[in-house]
């Protein structure tokens, strides 16, 4: 019996120790044992992967570089993972992440490879390059997705039925809403159960803010202008409040999810949906037959001759400066942006907007909403969203817009609160003037 006990305890200790060692070594040994030309890519699970995978398949075939994807959650949880993995030196060779203010919060100069000298950078749009660079002129990222717009998606069938026209001013839009409401449909879809969707009216108004006050982003970054005291910027919050005050949203907008909102738009029970164009791939998957009933127009301002889209710059791939395979990753990036790489990308997906790469012909079968956007891009009537022009984005915006958009606060109170919120972000980033 005693012998058995001894054996048993020895056995248990061995099992525990082996388990412990395996646990410690696991992360490193698995990647080291594979062939040399493998890169790891950390990517968020809410990104549409098929286009990216079409390109990585091509890179593996033609350039012999195998891509191993690691997934992380999107949203703020994903931000945490990015920051933690960078801080602990555990980042993958290539990281997929937002451009603009969120990138600035990652201290790019310390963590990512400067790609400004790479020849392929010439064909990347300058407006995109600005959102992935810093003051030193270094450029850290290559575009990984298409350009999106934050705008008003609408159901064309209902527009035809009710004889409505695309509004050129905010007042026209409100008049349309009134008619839709009178016809017994939801004029504006609210899906505030997922709080980020409540930000679109405010964020998608940046074209109008800039039309009135072109230097606002710089002054805002330098702590010289505040949202609450800049009439053009405050107007964005007022628009949000007005939609609630006039009762244009679905009754249960606080409990409605993004998926349900999309469904309402596709089925025409809801007619307008202020949203990002990332809704298009979702529509294509769930409601392919209705995809081309959906059009899009920019959030109008107060003057009919200034009309344009607020654009969201693509997410980007960044090369980990402290990774083991910087050279392989550089080759990977070059192949990703090669003509063939871009072609594979375009062929594999339903685009939700134009690419940030010059000289690419979009296929004929892009969704109707993308066709609606393209003229604006061709004529230059677009402006990046504020988060791509300033490193400042307060973390509580979605809660604040939920409150303003559900009548808990006035536009001015909301804007003031957000100004306070931004102050913390500025201090954490160590910006001058705060």
């Amino acid at each position: 019996m005693n012998k058995f006990k001894k054996f048993l305890s020895l056995f248990c200790v061995t099992v525990l120790l082996v388990g412990l060692l395996a646990g410690c070594g696991g992360a490193n040994s698995s990647s080291a044992s594979e062939e040399e030309d493998t890169v790891t890519v950390l990517i968020s699970n809410d990104s549409s992967r098929n286009a990216i995978e079409a390109v990585t398949d091509y890179i593996e075939e033609e350039h012999g570089i195998k891509t191993v994807f690691e997934t992380r959650p999107g949203g703020t949880e994903g931000d945490n993972i990015m920051k933690t993995r960078l801080a602990t030196g555990d980042m993958a060779d290539i990281a997929f992440y937002n451009s603009g203010s969120l990138l600035q919060a990652l201290n790019p100069a310390q963590n990512f490879v400067d790609l400004s000298k790479e020849p392929y950078m010439d064909k990347v749009l300058d407006t995109f390059k600005e959102t992935v660079s810093d003051d030193s002129g270094a450029i850290y990222g290559i575009p990984a997705t298409s350009v999106m717009v934050g705008a008003w998606f609408y159901n064309k069938k209902v527009y035809e039925e009710l004889g409505l026209e695309i509004p050129k001013t905010w007042d026209d839009l409100m008049a349309n809403n009134e008619k839709i409401k009178a016809a017994g449909k939801t004029a504006v879809i609210g899906s505030y159960k997922e709080t980020w969707t409540s930000q679109l009216i405010v964020l998608g108004d940046n074209y109008n803010v800039l039309a009135e006050d072109p230097t606002f982003p710089e002054e805002y970054t330098a702590n010289k202008a505040k949202l609450a005291t800049t009439p053009g910027a405050l107007r964005s919050f007022e628009k949000l409040q007005e939609v609630y005050d006039k009762g244009y949203m679905n009754d249960d907008f606080l409990a409605t999810t993004y998926d349900t909102g999309t469904k309402m738009l596709a089925e025409g029970t809801g007619v307008h949906y202020p949203m990002l164009s990332q809704v298009l791939p979702l529509l294509e998957t769930n409601y392919p037959d209705q995809l081309n009933d959906i059009g899009v127009f920019p959030q109008p301002g107060d003057s009919p001759d200034k009309n344009g889209f607020t654009a969201w710059m693509p997410h980007a791939f960044y090369l980990n400066k402290n990774g083991e395979k910087v050279e392989t990753a550089k080759k990977w990036a070059e192949a990703f942006l090669s003509d063939e790489g871009v072609k594979r990308f375009v062929d594999a997906t339903t685009l939700d907007g134009p690419l940030a790469v010059e000289g690419v012909d979009l296929p004929e079968d892009v969704p109707q909403a993308v066709k609606d956007m393209l003229p604006y891009f061709e004529e230059g009537n677009t402006a990046p969203a504020l988060e791509f022009l300033s490193p400042l984005k307060g973390p509580n915006l979605e809660q604040i817009t939920t409150e303003v958009g559900s009548g808990g606060k006035t536009a001015e109170e909301g804007a003031k609160l957000y100004d306070q919120d931004v102050e913390k972000q500025a201090k954490q980033l160590g910006l001058e003037g705060w």
Binding site: T76, E77, D79, N80, K83, T84, A87, A105, N107, Q110, Y192, T195, D251, D252, L254, A255, P395, N396, Q399, I400, T402, E403, S406, G408, K409, L417, Q420, D421, K424, Q425, K427, Q428, G430
Partner: protein, 288 residues
Amino acid sequence: MRNIKSNPYTYFFLLPAGAIYLIFFILPTILSFFFSMTWWTLTDWKFIGLENFKVFLSEPSMNIGFRNTIIYAIVTSGLKVILGLLLGVFLSMRLRSVGFIRSMVFFPALLSTIAVGIAFSTLMHPSQGMINTALSFIGFVGPDWLGDTKIALLSVALVDVWKGVGIATVIFIAGIMSIPQEYHEALSIDGGNAWHRFRNITLPLSRPAMNTVIILSFIGGLRTFDLIWAMTKGGPGFSTDIIASIIYKQYQAGFYGISTAGNVILFIVVAALAFPLYLYLNRKEVDL
């Protein structure tokens, strides 16, 4: 003394557990007091004194957060005590299939809080949720449980009670079962009825159990986080924010110093409320 000397195990056996406790509990606690006074980006830090505490306390949702935390702790611990006691008395009677009912009551405690939160936020959907559909069958119009800022916090608290009352009940059953039979015999000789039995025997003598339940559920209520996060994420707006969810939002935003300061504040708040309560309750305990 004899006991210690004859102990066949040396104190070295405590080392592994002690080391783990030191590294993963004591050390981070001490470090967090330090980092709460720094501007911190995980890789870089700068000492800035009490600035973080100032920023955290002037957080716009802080008033709501403090109020909600206290309300939540009182409502959940109060309801758990009352319901737990009633269920405990009921389930310590000699009933048929009492074992089954006991397991039924305890069952929610076994579920993952996040799963419970997600399930209930679906059940509480104002127009398609099962709760309001059921209410409309009997002619009531149910409220928007999680969307109405006035009742959202209470809705979450009720779910917390549903989930936590099982543990309270088990503690009460244990307390009631340990009351010696002699007291009941004495009472029936004196001609007492069921109410007398509850009032004069069960209630005073299950005091230790009740104190355990109050302390556990009160502290649990003060630092609750997962259920609120799963059901409302502090929303709509800031209306169901509690201290823990405000801390988490700071952390999510990358304000590591501020969120650490928030944790120190939460630690102090919990200690400042729980210790006096504990001392007060202990003084009122009656010996068996």
